[in-house]
Amino acid sequence: MTYIVKPKLHHPSLPKNDLGFTRRDYEGRISTLCAGCGHDSISAAIIQACWELSIQPHRLAKISGIGCSSKTPDYFLSQSHGFNSVHGRMPSVLTGANLANRDLIYLGVSGDGDSASIGLGQFAHSIRRGVNMSYIVENNGVYGLTKGQFSATSDKGSKSKKGVENTESGIDLVALALQLGATYVGRSFSGDKDQLVPLIKGAVSHHGPAFLDVISPCVAFNNHAGSTKSFDYVREHNEAVNRLDVILGRAPITTEYRPGELREVTQHDGSVLRLRKLHDDYDPTNRIAAANYLQERHAEGEIVTGLLFVDPDATDLHDRLGTTAQPLNQLGASDLTPGAQALAKINAGLR
């Protein structure tokens, strides 16, 4: 743990975003995680993404469960709302918050233990319900906080620090998310911010359940030879299908692309996801093809990363339930408690 406060001084040329904030204004407290933890890089990527998107910090709620990964909301966006909930229960707390106040941006931060072990049910249901959120799993293949037991995402055959082999099948949360109806699905690596930052930006600007599986090496318990979640292993087996740029509004294309290299996906709020293809025939709008490709490459021992699937016409839970357009805290008392007569009417309608 670091004892000094990160100095306030910053680079003289540090740029400001549309709100007049520098990236440093989006930071949180100094991390108490192990030095070198991948989770800290993901925090840095979240800071960068929110700064680039000029998000007003008080318009965002960061909600987490339990684990090293779930501690990280303390280390970014100090000016935002936060709820550090119970192990595996981030999705239900987030869902509740979202139903009460649909106007905030929801960032769910979880770990592989938090989401694939104890919280697998919660994960599944929040995705299939279509909660409008960015759900980020900081996936290190172990329970970092409780000293490195294999988690449910640990690959079969991966070795623990002491050399013990995992004999159980690993859960691929990306595959599950695709199957469960997530409308924006990506995978990335904490050690590749060029890829990760745009993926987070895309998730945050997506309307619907966005899921990101970010492989995040645990330097203390899962960064040795034999582990499939180490820096070296992930770097060697990383197979990116595309590179993403997120354009809000209709900005002209400034970079030059080779013919056929670029694929644009316009979401229905007008934001454009511009994808530089790395694989000629990878189509990120085809859910079934994405699922197949993922399985194929997985069998080859490769880790597929990039924006794997996006549904540009996604809807969310509110759209489907037809809830009131206003957050509950903006409704008056008479709307919230319409009285006995209104209740009687509803009851009558159900008879």
Partner: protein
């Protein structure tokens, strides 16, 4: 080491941090100090309350810490990194005074004279340059003879710098440390002929006679009104030596340098009520240091600019005023700045006295031109920039006598170089091959997150040195205006130092490229990226490296084949990169760089 080639172009050479020059350059203040005083080392000692130790570090490097702590031109401060990361540099100079004011008796720490080595050295002039040569050589066993025309040693430190900036006790004390080392002092002895001195059997001669002649202004009325027109430096030395103690009520000071600032402020204390400084060019272009101008203005002395002196006006043999032509600055066809008349009528100012402070010159009437010494087209002796040697091999120059008027710290630096040259020369060494500095490297790591230096960065802005009450100051030419930082303020100001000598040292082979250092660095100094040519590389770092005066620290040999690039420019030396590194690839190591002075270490070949 071979740089990793990349598609972006030729690889940049990995940085060789074993060259002392590399990290010396990172310590901006130390590099900028002509004597390369290890500034952060003494600032830490001040923060620690170890004033005597801090003083001795200074004494070794710059010889006159108490004097310089009040008067130095402080080239270190504009260089100080703190000025690049917030508004103002560390008050390096005034911290030196804190060490001097609070030290205890240092006599036991002064060098002891070695047995005589049989060699004799003459130093002409007893200013800071010569005194430095004497201090460096006397303890080595040389018999040093110092000649000066004045009654007391000190040169212009004593004759020119006004007492309200520098009390005489401080001069006596620090000159005294040197005379106690045993040089033979020949005071009130002007040297009239170098030729005859050369015959006196000295093994080497050092010329430290300064730039003693003040420029005059040959304008109409100069002769007629001579009684009330004074050459600034002559007038100041008359004040210092108490031959002059008053001046007229209305005084005009001509000139925009530090001498003009001393003249006007001294005039205010000797009866000048309406004192003004008048300069030819603009206020911004004045040579005086900003703080000197500030102090003058603070003493109700207006500075009028763009006025070119035209004539001294007199009546019945008495000066009554001066006229000036009004000018403005314009660019000529070649883009050079020029002063051109505005066409407005000349301006007249009444006055009782004029002090002419328009520059200083060298004069060597006592050096015969037939003794084999080469002089250049400005009639200045030809002196080697580094060795200080003249074209007569055993005659060396230093201080204002070498390359024209500079300042005390340059005189000291020249003195050290000349002493090294003399010591090497008399030991049959090649003086062109300068001795490398000594480097002591000490890792600062004490625990996982504990360092043996204070790495927490203070947010405080620069503290102001308290001044004596203005009305009191103006009454007494000897009353020191600046009161100095007390220990409390000294501590706080010392905490602003960024410890630029505690270096970030990178070991590529243990780095796992986890980015922790990149993410934590408050100044965005660190980038892992593809190799490339420097100019291009500078544009694609985490923050653009626009300050070309600062180096990039480049290391190769990383697992991904990328390079680590650290822009040294605005690093706070906070050590957070090292604290957050899981593998110890970053370490904070103090590089204490010690410029080699005369003595056995400079003659090891």
């Amino acid at each position: 080491m071979v740089g990793h080639a990349s598609r972006r172009g030729r690889a940049l050479q990995a940085t060789d941090i074993s060259r002392p020059e590399y990290f010396l350059k990172v310590v901006d203040c130390q590099l900028a100090c002509p004597a390369h005083t290890p500034v952060p080392e003494y600032i830490r000692l001040i923060a620690d309350g170890r004033y005597t130790d801090a003083y001795m570090i200074n004494w070794k490097s710059n010889v006159f810490p108490g004097i310089l702590g009040r008067t130095c031109d402080r080239p270190c401060e504009p260089a100080c990194r703190r000025g690049r990361v917030e508004e103002e540099p560390v008050a390096i100079c005034r911290l030196k005074r804190v060490a001097a004011d609070n030290k205890s008796d240092i006599s036991a720490r002064l060098p002891k004279a070695a047995p005589k080595n049989g060699k004799k050295i003459a130093c002409i002039g007893a200013g800071p340059a010569s005194l430095t040569v004497a201090r460096d050589l006397a303890p080595l066993g040389y018999e040093v003879h110092v000649y000066d025309a004045d009654k007391k040693a000190g040169g212009m430190i004593r004759s020119q710098i006004p007492r309200f900036r520098l009390p005489e006790e401080v001069i006596d004390e620090e000159v005294g440390y040197i005379t106690a080392l045993g040089p033979v002092m020949h005071l009130e002895r002007r040297i009239d002929s170098l030729k005859s001195l050369l015959k006196e059997g000295y093994d080497a001669i050092f010329v430290g006679t300064g730039a003693p002649r003040g420029r005059d202004l040959d304008l109409p009325g100069r002769k007629e009104a001579a009684a009330n027109i004074h050459i600034g430096i002559d007038w100041l030395s008359n004040v210092s030596f108490e031959h002059t103690n008053k001046i007229g009520r209305r005084v005009i000071v001509l000139g925009g340098g530090n001498t003009a600032m001393d003249c006007c402020r001294t005039a205010r204390r000797l009866g000048g009520e309406d004192v003004k400084v008048i300069v030819r060019s603009g206020f911004e272009e004045m040579k005086a240091s900003p703080w000197e101008k500030e102090d003058a203005i603070g003493e109700d002395i207006p500075i009028l600019n763009y006025l070119v002196p035209k004539a001294f006006i007199h009546e019945g043999g008495r000066l009554t005023g001066m006229t000036f032509e009004k000018v403005k600055a314009e660019k000529d066809a070649k883009g050079r700045r020029q002063l051109v008349p505005t066409g407005e009528p000349d301006q007249h100012f009444e006055c009782d006295d004029v002090l002419v402070a328009v520059g200083q010159e060298n004069a060597f009437p006592w050096i015969e031109r037939d003794i084999g010494m080469a002089f250049d087209k400005w009639d200045m002796p030809v002196v080697h920039q580094e060795t200080m040697q003249s074209t007569i091999p055993n005659v060396f120059f230093g201080g204002d006598a070498a390359f024209g008027p500079k300042n005390i710290i340059w005189a000291v630096a020249h003195g050290h170089s000349a002493a090294v040259s003399i010591d090497m020369f008399l030991n049959d060494q090649d003086i062109a091959v300068r001795p490398p500095p000594g480097v002591t490297v000490i890792s600062q790591k004490m625990g996982i997150h504990e360092w043996s230096y204070d790495n927490d960065i203070a947010n405080d802005r620069r503290y102001k040195v308290p001044h004596r009450d203005k009305a009191q100051s103006l009454k007494d030419v000897k009353a020191e205006v600046e009161l100095g930082f007390d220990q409390g303020l000294g501590f706080k100001e010392a905490q602003r130092c960024l410890n630029c000598d505690v270096q970030t040292v990178f070991t590529a082979k243990v780095c796992i490229e986890c980015d922790a250092c990149v993410d934590i660095c408050p100044m965005d100094c660190i980038t892992f990226t593809d190799d490339g040519e420097e100019a291009e590389l500078r544009t694609r770092l985490k923050a653009p490296a626009l300050n070309l005066g600062q180096d990039l620290y480049v290391a190769d040999g990383l697992p991904t084949g990328r390079v680590m690039v650290k822009d040294e420019d605005v690093c706070l030396h906070c050590g957070l990169c090292a604290e957050r590194c899981p593998t110890g690839a970053w370490d904070m190591q103090k590089y204490l760089i010690d410029i080699t002075q005369a003595g056995p270490k400079c003659r090891t070949r």
